[in-house]
């Protein structure tokens, strides 16, 4: 995540600026990378993890703070536990690739 963050922000910033008519929002999108490299108080890291509800979860966000040099309150995390995570993953994939039987999945 750390090595790709600016790449993603840069690409997302360009896309997002082009799909909004709200100038303030567009400006915000246009400043994403700037805020990131300046460790602006509005910048931060969020991590979301999804897994089986019976997985043994322990300290899964502990190391996030050591990768990104933000203040502690600039880190956010979410944990989603699902009864049958692999079934969800399969059905999501089927939905996305519906009708693509003739193609090899990427």
């Amino acid at each position: 995540m750390k090595s790709r963050s600016l790449s993603y922000l840069s690409r997302f910033s360009l896309i997002a600026q082009q799909i909004t008519d709200d100038e303030a929002l567009a400006r915000f999108y246009g400043e994403l990378a700037e805020r990131w490299v300046d460790r602006d108080p509005t910048a931060g890291v969020g991590v979301s993890v999804g897994t089986d509800s019976d997985a043994r979860i322990s300290g899964c966000f502990d190391r996030v703070t050591s990768y990104f040099e933000f203040e502690l309150d600039q880190h956010q995390a979410q944990l989603h536990l699902m009864a049958d995570f692999s079934e969800l993953a399969d059905s999501a994939r089927d939905e996305i690739w519906k009708g693509c039987g003739s193609w090899t999945e990427p």
Binding site: L9, R11, F12, S13, L14, Q18, A33, P106
Partner: protein, 1156 residues
């Protein structure tokens, strides 16, 4: 210093941020990375990549939001493009998708930073798919399309996009409307990209509008939100569509000349977007009129190499051709090689207009009327010859003169000829609409040159730029002995002890205020010290590695990254180094086979070039035959040469691509012990310009090898010069020339014969020019007086550069020469001033002509069809000796070995050698028979090649041409029934024995062997013996040619060009939107008319392969040789074609038209 390392630029682009390196650190990181990548010793630092992505966000922020100012955004583009580019060259193991992402990001950076051609160069290195284009992940497919579109590579883009469009249509038939699925973004990219290319190709505004709609949909379809790469590509293409519109030929060129725009976008290679300096010149920057305005009568373009000067010249030439019927264009280039290159590239655009180009042959008197094709390309000597023959006809025929590489007016040997010709044309057209365009990479903003081309108060329209696409890295290469690693060799017998010290090569890169250096890990040579009786350790010259040997590891290293040009001061050194480089390569490089074949047949098996060519190594210098030089240049262009070692001849304007240029020693010591500078500052600037070719590479390395001294920063000084720093001096301003004129003046006081003595060569040229001015004024029925002559001299560059005292000297010399002109009988002075020779030489040639007339007698008894016999008669021993002893001839015979003194000549029967040459005897046989006294095989071949290039191909045809014209004029006046064959000089020049062979050589066949072989078969043909040669050749097939004449691939290409139907309009007619019928040679298949077909090169056959007509039923026929060139060009343009099989009254045909 390279612009990418400019601290101000880095500061302006990046600023200071907590998470990024500061500008100084960034510069150091960049410089270290450059050196490490050069030495193949490292990856890209992650902090650099982060900076690049940050900069891209800065650069692509919406301008209307004014988050960043525009200059900063441009700087950010440039720096980010550079860093992404470095990342792509690193050894990092990026995935295909990531590599494509970085490529597109780098392209965006370069385009936004006004470095347009680098976008195309990047695509050449990108991991792009080959047909049949397997389906892959949508984001990757979009990235591939985006990279190709930004490279403006139409020929590659259309097939890929069409395949993707079909695949998406198949998908749609299974899942319904893809625009409501995760494929919406890739679908929008594919359709949008195609319409964008359509717009750039055909200029249709509707296509541009559609492109924008598709791309907008791609960015903003919720179902494809997760396809970030496709949306990112679409967002970039959408953002860049305005810019591409502004820079396209359709916007930048005048709308009233649509044919001109079409010639650019549909010519070959296509120009879909113009580069910044081209746009600014065409827009008429700095308050000047547009150069396309016919009222701009004098134009000066001073562009460094790789800035798009040639294309601008093409635009001006084509605009002239397309917009007026008032006259034709004469293009002048300094060498036959460059003429050929210019002609080929121009021809491929002119054909889109249905126009023809002509390339003039060498400078003989046989043809005194200028050709009347719309565009003719010739050397300065040929232009001078035409001007001398008939100035009125020349000015009537041409209304525009384009002078390429105009800085050669300063060249010691040939500069004056160009200056006098240009000055006289300039003077004679002061009050007319004639236009003169002067082009150079090294003219700078010189007030003298501007003053020279000023007509009264009307200054030339000029444009000067230092812009170039590929960045250039200037480096100095040194080597140094490491005494810490020395090993001692004990004395043995008589041999004294030696100390072997390994030497290491070091590359220094200048970064403004400091230098970054990297060292080669392996030694590049050895310094050997010898222990003397006095207990000293001097250098052992014989056992230590030479400078040349120590250069070889550097050359072999850089050759891994792309073609290398190494410049050496002398021919001998060029050949030796090339040999040593070839020895360093283990592998043979089969792609250089054409060159090897030709060298073997043309120069003998033993010739050094034949020996090294299989390794992809060659040397190039003026003493090589012209066809071999051209073949080497072709091989470099085709990427078949890894290393070319050349003297300065090659760098005078042949546009050859090299990744790296290495300049070794820049001078040599002549036999008198004088230091001669073989690469002058202009030559060095030109060499520098060869490093990194626009559109092919994003960077070029210029390496100055300084092996004789320890490194210091001043070693970079010669590389810092620009065209502005070079002064172009007329050769007449040289001390030796002025002294020669002064000597003439002194002598003229005591003898009337002073005008017929030799002085300095430039002084001789000036005196002959004075005669010619007087003659030209007479021809044009203008008043002739010394004042009129001085008025012309005042139009020379020399006049602008001399002080008043020196000008007086020039005027006095001119007045004295004019007195001598007036004192000479009218017919003699007319002949001599037209000859183009110095006046003493002209007088000798007159004597030769008189003697020949005497020998001819009243009745010609020789068979005038038998060219070798006529040569034998005309050039008897005495005549040949007289011609060879003329001052202008630089080669009088053969030395026994390479280092023999100039006057140590072996006994060779030069006349017998000449007669065998004309009879078509193969070169190996000539060497064996006539030069057996030269013991070394290699040198024997080399000496023969050099002699024939200088004497047979140049001096004798020229002088004999003058003599023949005078003799024939006299024969004609006396009512003689027979004249000497006017193509006799051509037989000597080409070394062929028949008129048919001469016609072939003139028509572009470069191989003497092939011309003779075709001529023999043509003479013995039984079917239709009277049909013209071109038709006869055109009635055969490429396969026939290979079998009958044993034609090599290069020879087949020449024959195809020769056999092309004159005036064929396949390209222009199809591109204009017509259906064009092309006859085909049938194979055994029966044909179904109205069936669609494809045109494909015959598989398994070397290029140029026959073009086959393929239908679903199989191969039904091939394109005839007469149409091959045109059809081949049409295919290479990369537009989509409809090909339908048909029959006509004359047989089966195909109908070609543009696909809708």
């Amino acid at each position: 210093m390279d612009r990418a390392l400019d601290p101000d630029l880095l500061h302006a682009a990046v600023g200071v941020h907590e998470q990024l390196p500061d500008p100084d650190t960034l510069r150091q990181l960049l410089a270290d990375t450059e050196v490490n990548l050069f030495l193949q010793q490292g990856d890209i630092d992650e902090a650099l990549l982060d900076t690049a992505w940050y900069l891209q966000a800065v650069a692509t922020a919406r301008p209307d939001l004014q988050i960043y100012d525009l200059p900063r955004q441009r700087h950010a583009h440039q720096v980010s493009g550079h860093i992404f580019d470095l990342a792509l060259q690193s050894t990092d193991d990026f995935s295909t998708t990531e590599r494509l992402r970085l490529t597109l990001a780098a392209q965006v950076g370069y385009l936004g930073g006004d470095l347009t051609p680098n976008a195309a160069a990047l695509a050449r290195r990108a991991p792009l798919p080959d047909p049949p284009f397997d389906w892959s992940e949508p984001g990757q497919m979009s990235l591939e399309a985006g990279v190709l579109v930004l490279a403006l590579d139409r020929a590659a883009t259309y097939p890929l996009l069409d395949a993707r469009r079909d695949q998406l249509a198949d998908l749609e038939s299974e899942i319904g409307d893809v625009t409501q699925t995760p494929y919406a973004a890739v679908d929008g990219v594919v359709r949008g990209a195609r319409e964008l290319i359509n717009y750039l190709t055909y200029g249709s505004r509707e296509a541009l509008q559609e492109a924008r709609q598709h791309l907008t949909r791609a960015v903003d379809t919720p179902t494809a939100a997760s396809d970030v790469d496709s949306r990112w590509v679409a967002a970039h293409l959408l953002r860049l569509s305005d810019e591409l519109q502004d820079t396209s030929a359709w916007s930048a060129l005048p709308p009233d000349l649509p044919n001109l725009s079409r010639a650019m976008t549909l010519g070959d290679p296509p120009v879909l977007s113009l580069w910044p300096p081209q746009l600014s010149f065409l827009a008429g920057a700095d308050g000047q009129p547009s150069p396309l305005d016919p009222r701009a009568r004098r134009l000066m373009l001073s562009f460094p190499t790789s800035a798009g000067k040639t294309l601008l010249a093409q635009i001006l030439i084509l605009a002239h051709v397309a917009s007026s019927d008032v006259g034709n264009v004469c293009v002048v280039a300094p060498t036959h090689s460059l003429c050929r290159e210019l002609a080929n590239s121009l021809n491929r655009r002119l054909r889109t207009l249905g126009r023809e180009l002509h390339i003039e042959g060498p400078v003989w008197f046989e043809q005194t009327k200028p050709p009347s094709d719309r565009v003719t390309v010739m050397t300065p000597e040929r232009l001078a010859g035409l001007l001398r023959s008939d100035p009125a006809a020349l000015l009537h025929e041409y209304s525009m003169f384009v002078i390429d590489e105009a800085h050669l007016v300063a060249a010691p040997a040939r500069g004056w000829r160009l200056e006098e010709t240009l000055s006289l044309i300039h003077h004679l057209t002061v009050d007319t609409d004639h236009r003169i365009l002067v082009l150079s990479a090294a003219l700078g903003n010189q007030s003298h040159v501007i003053q020279w081309m000023t007509v009264d108060d009307e200054k030339p329209v000029k444009h000067h730029t230092n812009w170039r696409g590929p960045r250039r890295l200037n480096a100095v290469y040194t080597d140094k002995a490491n005494f810490g690693e020395a090993t001692d060799e004990p004395p043995r017998g008589n041999r004294r002890a030696r100390r072997h010290v390994p030497m290491y090569g070091k590359i220094h890169l200048h970064t403004g205020d400091n230098t970054v250096a990297g060292e080669f890990i392996e030694p590049v040579g050895t310094l050997v010290l010898r222990h003397t009786k006095e207990d000293k350790w001097p250098r052992d010259k014989t056992e230590s590695s030479t400078e040349r040997e120590r250069l070889v590891p550097l050359i072999a290293h850089v050759a891994q990254f792309g073609a290398v040009l190494v410049v050496q001061p002398t021919r001998v050194e060029a050949q030796r180094l090339a040999q040593e480089v070839a020895d360093a390569f283990d592998d043979e490089d089969s792609v250089a086979r054409n060159l090897t074949d030709l060298a073997r047949s043309r120069l003998t098996e033993a010739h050094p070039l034949t020996q090294i060519a299989p390794k992809g190594v060659a040397f190039h210098h003026a003493a090589l035959p012209v066809d071999i030089q051209a073949e080497i240049e072709d091989a470099v262009r085709a990427g078949h040469i890894r290393v070319l070692v050349a003297t300065s001849t090659l760098i005078e304007g042949v546009n050859l691509p090299f990744k790296t240029v290495i300049v070794g020693r820049r001078g040599y010591t002549d036999s008198a012990g004088e230091q001669i500078e073989s690469i002058d500052p202009a030559g060095l600037l030109n060499a520098v310009g060869r490093a990194g070719r626009a559109g092919r590479e994003t960077e070029g390395w210029m390496i100055l090898a300084e092996q004789s001294a320890a490194y210091n920063d001043h070693m970079f000084d010669p590389l810092q010069r620009t065209g502005n720093d070079l002064e172009i001096r007329s050769t007449v301003t040289a001390e030796s020339a002025l002294a020669g004129l002064s000597e003439f003046e002194d002598l003229a006081r005591t003898t009337q014969d002073a005008i017929f003595r030799h002085y300095d060569a430039v002084a001789d040229g000036f005196l002959s020019f004075v005669w010619f001015i007087a003659q030209a004024l007479e021809d044009l029925e203008r008043a002739v007086s010394i004042d009129e002559i001085v008025a012309v001299i005042e139009r020379t560059l020399a006049w602008q550069q001399l002080d008043p005292h020196q000008r007086q000297g020039l005027v006095r010399a001119a007045a004295t020469a004019y007195e001598a002109f007036e004192a000479q009988p009218r017919d003699q002075r007319e002949r001599w001033s037209r000859s183009g020779a110095s006046l003493p030489t002209a007088r000798t040639l007159d004597t030769v002509a008189e003697q020949l007339l005497g020998r001819l007698g009243p009745d010609l008894t020789i068979d005038l069809e038998d060219l070798p016999a006529v040569v034998g008669f005309v050039l008897d021993d005495e005549t040949l000796t007289m011609l060879l002893e003329l001052e202008e001839n630089t080669r009088r015979g053969f030395k026994p070995y390479r280092s023999a003194p100039r006057d140590n000549l072996i006994d060779v029967d030069l006349r017998a050698l000449l007669l065998d040459w004309v009879a078509g005897v193969e070169i190996q046989e000539l060497a064996d028979q006539h030069l057996a006294a030269i013991p070394d095989d290699g040198y024997r071949s080399e000496a023969l090649a050099e002699f024939s290039a200088s004497v047979f191909e140049h001096h004798l045809p020229w002088t004999l041409g003058v003599v023949l014209q005078w003799v024939n004029t006299r024969l004609d006046a006396t009512g003689s029934a027979h004249l000497l064959p006017e193509h006799l000089p051509a037989a000597i020049h080409y070394g062929v024995s028949t008129k048919t062979a001469i016609d072939l050589m003139r028509g572009g066949i470069r191989s003497r062997r092939l011309a003779n072989a075709v001529a023999i078969h043509a003479a013995s043909r039984t079917s239709d013996p009277e049909s013209p040669l071109r038709d006869w050749l055109g009635s055969q097939t490429i396969t026939d040619w290979r079998e009958l004449f044993e034609a090599s691939p290069t020879e087949v290409a020449d024959l195809l060009s020769f056999a092309r139907t004159p005036g064929a309009q396949v390209v222009s007619s199809v591109l204009e939107g017509s259906d064009h019928e092309v006859p085909i040679d049938m194979s055994d298949h029966s044909i179904d008319t109205a069936e669609t077909a494809a045109l494909e090169p015959q598989p398994g056959v070397p290029d140029p392969a026959p073009i086959q007509v393929v239908t679903p039923a199989g191969v039904i026929g091939t394109i005839r040789p007469a149409d091959h060139d045109e059809v081949s060009q049409l295919l290479s343009i990369g537009v989509q074609l409809n090909i339908v099989v048909a029959t006509s009254t004359t047989g089966p045909t195909i109908t070609i038209s543009l696909a809708p």
